[in-house]
Symmetry: C3
Amino acid sequence: MNISDLRQTLDLAQTVQEMEFLVRALYPICRSITGEGFRQTLQILQTQIPLTQHQVPSGTQVFDWTVPREWTIRDAYVKNSQGDRVIDFQRSNLHVVNYSIPVHTKLSLQDLKPHLFSLPDRPDWIPYRTSYYKDTWGFCLSHNQLLALPEDEYEVRIDSSLEPGYLSYGEYYLPGETPEEVLISCHACHPSLANDNLSGIAIATTLAKHLSEIHRRYSYRFIFIPATIGSITWLSRNEEIVDRIRHGLVLSCLGDPGHSTYKKSRRGDAEIDRAVLHILQHSGKDYKVIDFSPYGYDERQYCSPGFNLPVGCFMRTPNSQFPEYHTSADNLEFIQPWALQDSFTKCLGVLSVLEHNKTYLNQNPKCEPQLGKRGLYRAVGGPAGTGINEMAMLWTLNLSDGLHSLLEIADRSGYAFDAIKKAADALEEAGLLKALS
Amino acid sequence: MNISDLRQTLDLAQTVQEMEFLVRALYPICRSITGEGFRQTLQILQTQIPLTQHQVPSGTQVFDWTVPREWTIRDAYVKNSQGDRVIDFQRSNLHVVNYSIPVHTKLSLQDLKPHLFSLPDRPDWIPYRTSYYKDTWGFCLSHNQLLALPEDEYEVRIDSSLEPGYLSYGEYYLPGETPEEVLISCHACHPSLANDNLSGIAIATTLAKHLSEIHRRYSYRFIFIPATIGSITWLSRNEEIVDRIRHGLVLSCLGDPGHSTYKKSRRGDAEIDRAVLHILQHSGKDYKVIDFSPYGYDERQYCSPGFNLPVGCFMRTPNSQFPEYHTSADNLEFIQPWALQDSFTKCLGVLSVLEHNKTYLNQNPKCEPQLGKRGLYRAVGGPAGTGINEMAMLWTLNLSDGLHSLLEIADRSGYAFDAIKKAADALEEAGLLKALS
Amino acid sequence: MNISDLRQTLDLAQTVQEMEFLVRALYPICRSITGEGFRQTLQILQTQIPLTQHQVPSGTQVFDWTVPREWTIRDAYVKNSQGDRVIDFQRSNLHVVNYSIPVHTKLSLQDLKPHLFSLPDRPDWIPYRTSYYKDTWGFCLSHNQLLALPEDEYEVRIDSSLEPGYLSYGEYYLPGETPEEVLISCHACHPSLANDNLSGIAIATTLAKHLSEIHRRYSYRFIFIPATIGSITWLSRNEEIVDRIRHGLVLSCLGDPGHSTYKKSRRGDAEIDRAVLHILQHSGKDYKVIDFSPYGYDERQYCSPGFNLPVGCFMRTPNSQFPEYHTSADNLEFIQPWALQDSFTKCLGVLSVLEHNKTYLNQNPKCEPQLGKRGLYRAVGGPAGTGINEMAMLWTLNLSDGLHSLLEIADRSGYAFDAIKKAADALEEAGLLKALS
């Protein structure tokens, strides 16, 4: 069974249910770039795929960066003078600024306010804020909540610690026919945010689970990392692997109702760029392709000039471009089953192109071969149609001069990759094409 | 006398009359990919140009194909029980499916119907059908004719034979200054169809006749072949010639009232592609340029990957895109004298570009030469105007660095090739340009 | 003090006043391609910049041309029979056809008319005409003036001489850090015409004056020459210098109210082309970029195929495209202070790009460096903002692989060159970038 067979036999409704179940299980956890929440997340993923947990000690030098102290958060609240928790971490882990240092004090409203963050334009939503590299503390709350706070003396408590510990990440390697790799990377450091990036985690995990069960041309490496410091750490510890990465995708924000967006690799014309573009063009749906820019997700690191890997980023609506981004409104209601399914299906389509994209040599390059005597002519449309498109065969024969891959033939001819692949299979079977090694 | 002189002195009205006469003479013949009709056609062309008839025996292996048995058709009809010929080959040679095997039997209407072909959407037209590579028989008729057939016992007779014989083709070679060749190819295997391809045959023949009388830089080879099997056969027997082909055109469907269409060679940027595009751009008329695809006419074979010749296809409305295509409505009324003339004139323009397109070296490359002291400045517009465009001279001087041909200079400057050519001639005369060998 | 500092500290209002003063001082002089008027012009420029006057004797061979005799004009008039000067060189030096041979005769109106030139469409304007290379004489006058001339016997006098003398030109060389040069060329041979080209002369002179006072990476060479024969003469005498010219601009017609126009060098993608385009794109104003053509100003000579220098032409409305062109309406009222200032500012912007455009190597190419620990993160927008754009830093780091200059980074990122330059400076300061030599 190969990826084409998988695409034909997979129960997509069932697959989407599994992804939704995973998202719901992961949603409540208070994740950060280090700490127990991240490890709990990996443990839940381990119920689906046998990934390896890596632990990198605080203080480890990773290129220009240092692995930070591990953050532990137990509780956090602001109590009014009646003892009511007016801001309560137990109700939403977004309420505490991620990586807040411990604090326990009493403050007037005026002195408390510089530590409170809200969104005046979205008065019901709690923002998500972090302070990984500056020692400070704070609370996030809805703007209506903030406006409702009376003058009072407030007890402020963040029961956290920042101690030497570990940066954790998960890695799952699936060996293939060749040691050349496809890298699938997603960040897993955000607390209760569903689209960014539980959607990406769920799709990556589900892809991994299904790929593990089929024949693979490429080897696959799935990594679940904290954003930025995680990819920097992984690259720093895996420099010898990097040369094997032929294609890569960063997956994020794949469940929102926006249309698909692909951000190209820094190279701009890598095979992964052309493969994703092909799938989007033939999806029959709106999509957007944007050029690489050195901002966004972990493609920033993979595409830094010292690596310049062929890694793009597949999303629906990009970071910062949907109002729910980095707020409590990026919740379980925000992500849509149909959007998860559509994103997943496109990922599978892209991987199918990569798995099957080869370059062939026409064994009868002078004039057309006589397809009729091989039963390949007028094969389509007739009552005994083989489903092989005759024009796709002619294109494949014409361009199989060793200089055009099947994907290039598909793009030049306008046919879908699958049609060209089917034609190439029939022609190879008939001895008219031979794959270049 | 060279091609420029020919273009200025040719009596176009007379030329069109000659082409129409030829088309009318060829129209009634029942041609096929082999057989007497094809040879009669070549004999008529021999009244215009001394072409050579080649005969290739049935059974000859030509690349992946085999030259088929020769088809002879003497008569064919369907008679009703009163003995009336209700379908009669004598009235239109389209009535019999081309390459039908012999048959003589009696059939009910029901048993006859699987062998009858009509066009329900065009109830007055007879379709044109062939079955070269599958032994079968059939009749084509108008849909109204079909509907009018009553239940009856019909006598069916096709007096044909399929015997070892020859595939015939015509070839006319005109040696030029250089052995480098321009190939003009047209298929001549269709029975009574006027646009496809008596129009192409008439234009090719007329071009050949006139080119034979002038000085030629290039050698020219005109071939009149059955479609597909003919070009495959020709290529298979002329592999050693192929390297000399610098430019080529397949000519077909050049008499219909649609605008000119050029289908590029597989290379897409060959000199022939740029020459045709230039002529169309400066024609002042609508036109269409389409990319190569491995379908259509014999360019499919010339542009197969093992040859990849710089051969495009010049047409008016492409095959399948006019309703009269491959029906009895592609008749003598369908093709227009003005369209034949326009196509012919454009062909001559293209060949003129090829004949005159050279690369020159500016002999005074540092700063402009002083045109005034050579009588070349303000030459245009003045009362003693030489007709040489001053800007065309400046462009030609500026770009004649050995890297730009006259055609490239014309395209970059926006001037017509003829204006640039005239400027180059004046500058060469003045010693300011020297042609690269 | 470098060019960036100059741009920030220069008093533009004062600068424009200086340019206007210079234009007013030069306007009345009767210039030609040789002679006293040209030398007076250079003397006035010498009050601003210490340029060198070069004198090239008549008869000197310069490539395909010969330095012409020197033209001296003392007086010219047409008197009616009452002795009134009805056409009078003293009132406008445009009245005499430039390079007219001496004449003193009496003529009827009919015999005089072939020597009179006017503009029927612009009946109040005097045209500007020359006859450098054909010995003739004539007068230019407004069409209304011409219509008002009665039948009479006219005394015609042109007190001129054409004698062996000199072609003069001015040159000002400012050595820089490197002997690689920027060439700024303007023609200075037109009599009382303000936009064409006193505007160019004033801007070039003022640029030279200010550049002389700052640190320069490039050496600069300003030349003030008669059109065509001047650039040919200069190139002919300076062939050994030509290889040092890295960038060049011809300046002309920079004071009219039209928007900026840049005509690209023959190369089309030289650094000067990209620099001017960048400045125009970020100017927030309409502009036009046109391809090179072998017509216009002295770029024709610099871009002749034997030199093919990276020299473009910076203008507002191009020659021949404003009605005042080469007429008495191209006067002091036609040029606008704001337009002169805008042109000057853009020139300074272009030179600033050239001066600062370097290619850097990211010293931390694997993953992003940690900007925060160097005080460079969130530097913008904050209260203690350094004015350095964070995204500009990320782009500069990402593309500083030795293959992209700052200008290319600016163009790819969409940021203004100045923002990228500022980012590069900060990154270089922090040791994160190192300039390639």
